[in-house]
Symmetry: C2
Subunit: 608 residues, 2 copies
Amino acid sequence: MPSYAAPLDDLRFLINDLFDMPNDPDVPGTADVTPDLIDAVLEGGAKICEQVFQPLNQSGDAEGCTWDNGVVRTPVGFKAAFDEYVGGGWHTLSLDPAWGGQGLPFFLSMAMTEMTVASNHALSTYIGLTSAVIGSLRGFGTDELKNTYIPPMVEGRWTGTMNLTEPHCGTDLRLMRTKAVPQDDGTYRVTGTKIFITGGEHDLAENIVHMVLAKIPGEDEGLGAVNLFLVPKFLVNEDGSLGPRNGVTCGSIENKMGIRGSATAVLHYEDAVGYRVGGDRAEKQGSNGKGSSKGMAGMFAMMNAARLGVGMQGMALSEVAYQNAASYAKERLAGRSLTGPKHPDLPADPIIVHPDVRRMLLHIRSFTEGARALAMFAGQQIAKAGRQSDEETRKAASDLAMLLTPTIKAYFTDMGFDCVNMAMQCFGGHGYVKDHGMEQFVRDARILQLYEGANGVQALDLVGRRLPTNQGEAVRALFAMIQKFVDDHKDDADMKPFVDPVQDGLNRLIGASAWLAQHAPANRDEAGAGASDYLKLLGTVLFGYMWARMAAVAQARLAAGEGDKAFLEMKLHCACYWMTRMMPETALLAERVAAGADTLMAPEAAAF
Amino acid sequence: MPSYAAPLDDLRFLINDLFDMPNDPDVPGTADVTPDLIDAVLEGGAKICEQVFQPLNQSGDAEGCTWDNGVVRTPVGFKAAFDEYVGGGWHTLSLDPAWGGQGLPFFLSMAMTEMTVASNHALSTYIGLTSAVIGSLRGFGTDELKNTYIPPMVEGRWTGTMNLTEPHCGTDLRLMRTKAVPQDDGTYRVTGTKIFITGGEHDLAENIVHMVLAKIPGEDEGLGAVNLFLVPKFLVNEDGSLGPRNGVTCGSIENKMGIRGSATAVLHYEDAVGYRVGGDRAEKQGSNGKGSSKGMAGMFAMMNAARLGVGMQGMALSEVAYQNAASYAKERLAGRSLTGPKHPDLPADPIIVHPDVRRMLLHIRSFTEGARALAMFAGQQIAKAGRQSDEETRKAASDLAMLLTPTIKAYFTDMGFDCVNMAMQCFGGHGYVKDHGMEQFVRDARILQLYEGANGVQALDLVGRRLPTNQGEAVRALFAMIQKFVDDHKDDADMKPFVDPVQDGLNRLIGASAWLAQHAPANRDEAGAGASDYLKLLGTVLFGYMWARMAAVAQARLAAGEGDKAFLEMKLHCACYWMTRMMPETALLAERVAAGADTLMAPEAAAF
């Protein structure tokens, strides 16, 4: 059975030493937050994840969810664990106290996101979506909707869902068929079938708040007709008590590869009462010149938050898989070190003596810790962008967050899946049997590359939409930020092994960006052909930047005799791994971007 | 539900056009083989795989094997399918007719290996191991063992297994505890526990022939004490009829991630009667200077064959996953081509219009077809090495096979797993639910990187043992072979896009080999640190060589107006993909090899 210990040392290193977040005036909610409070929250959160969530992870997978005539039961223990978590207010750590939240800084809720996923990915999905719906309603709901639906979700009595996909329609929302017909009383009647609805039906909560995309008939038949509606499972009386069942039923749940404790529902809406969210038309946006509703903006805001969350899931699963692989590698005896026995007293050396095992572990660890740093950095930008800071700071943070969101979603989940697999590989054949729990991490992690927009779609979003915005203003600011760090440290001999590879990677990233800017306008397939490699290139360079920053802090603290020496030295080892083994890949990725579309587009479709 | 059509066109291209195998005097069994016979065998084999094996693949996974008090039941339908297959003699196509085989050339049995795995990986495991045990007995068994045990396996009434692993002991056979105590009558009594025994217990056959590694007490306690024993499930009377049950019982079967229709048994041996296989001591071998038994040589021969087979499994699963992904991509509608609608009559374009989808499909296909070619090439070398040809030809083929075996095992299964995942990715979220069958391919393929020696062990075997043999004579011959092809075609302008990248890759491979030869003798960790990347580098260059050869043949046939134009043009498209997107990776891999061991070995074990 796998184990999990929340990586509190690394979180403290990021929060305090790398980003000094408690003293960042642009991060909301830090004013009253003392180091002791941060520690208390991290330790309390770690405790519930380690002791309540994690022990249910394997049993939840083995049991799965069950569907019986529209009623869905979650695995044994999920309800009690869910109640304890939401009862403690852990899902609303950084929510405004005016809405019942704790008003703590974002980085604490990010730490909780990681810990809940690492300890129980399936169970965490119900929580993450509820937080996302609260956030969306706060931003785009009417006062009446907010006052009716937010408090029970904050109290953990109700949960939330996002409803986008239909059987024939995933990424391409234009194809949507679900209809929302306006009623005289201002409500809508929603009819259609939605699939892949995470937490769409379950027994954890009294009511479920579905956020549903649907078309209003008679309006523009394209994307412009798509609006966002709140459709509760049970209608709500004026006093907030539950009324009759609304016209939404769960037709079935999916039999999936993983996250088997997370109910993925098919929902049939039939004249269900819905309330429009963000009914006003937003400013015109997008290259097609069509306006879309504020509700769509609300859905997109929710999806951006969800994408960062999904990226973090890749990091979280990589962390727990790493911990178990490292433990196994230090215990399992096989063979002798190539340079002579390291434990002659034992019948064989532990496999951690083998360079190839260390290569795998360092790969996973340098990904995981690099990802944790970049996620925190992205969260910091999102927090700054949402705050009434000066406009220049706000715009810079917002631009960075725009670029980071799809990159983190796709890069963290592609790399995270590879890393979880590598951790399983450290177990040899034992990794393939269910007992050790490693294969569950692989099955669970596999959804990450698919949900919240398949990774290829993230790459196209990055390269096709986000990169060219304002003639690449955002990405140029990002280049300048990294260049500044390199310039600031290039005369420091100790930092040379860290800044030189970053400079090389940055140059290649700039070159690939220029190639796209030059070629994509004439043939948009060039952008599509290079999108995935470009995203990976950007991710690799961003990790290099994070590792160089972490190396600088680690070196400074070691020189000052501060902090945990072994911890800081391991940071430098991981930074070295990233620089020597991962940064060279930037050359390959840039070459692939510039390989262009011709080879890909040449075959006739029928030839495939 | 997924579909499968055996890739007969590609097999014919390889057999006839690329390798001209029916006319190769060094390939046994080709004398009487007419093109019509080859076609008949391929088509008959395809039919049973497509129509009998494949329909049981999903149901076999859903049902799995069951264990009840030592008795193991395979999924519904497996027994009838197995009987039909072995009853038709499909598992002994290239076995010597003197032993009841069909005496057909090896390439037909290789084609069958691929088709059985692609259509039903779990079911194929029982067959593949039985063939391996027949081969091992033929090479190393006494006449009595051969005459008793081979015919019932040829008839398909009995099956075979390999028993190496014990709970505490996988790769490191020195740690083995299973004992074989000599008896006065020349037999042995075998006692111990073996795990991960594929087909170790089941209901497909009347008897099971276990090939078991065990130590003879009192001999050298290291590897030298390990010998190979044949231990039947039921003892066999002199007339060949079944006698009493032997002292081997199935304690349980593993609950695994995939290949759930393949019974992976824990076998308890308690004073089981065993017969030594290859009892004489072989010549001294290995760097430790210890002699090992001929039985061990027999096991290693069986393992080499099994490694090629496992590599082919990666290719086979990639093929079937590709077929389903390509079909889906041509049917599923979402979005519009970036360069304008390609099907304005439809509500959206099929996703095959998107460059990133094509990138994934071309990646999978160029791997799969490159792998099929290289596997056939390796099989050709093995066939030549086993034939009484002239010594120079035999030695060259044997050396090549020595290098190709671990490379194919690890490279095909790492790439195969990635490709199967990519095929699943083409389905978006639909790939994650069981209905489409894509996630089963992923779960099934994941074992390949683990069994028959984890891929890291293959890499170390390649770099640590096979590469340095005779001062690198074998790999230098391989370099010369590729260089000759490049030189022969470098003045052909049409071939320039194919030979230039191969030349670059070859140069990098030579450089990485020189780096290892220079550094590894002084510090063997340098070999371990670069092993996996070196293996990948070798694999990438070998695929480049295969694709360049295939491109040359395709161009020649197109120029001559021969063959299927669309098929040959797609060959060139795939070759272009490999050259432009994959060959550049050789620079990265060579750089990683030369990155050395320091970064990996620097951290204390406790720091992980």
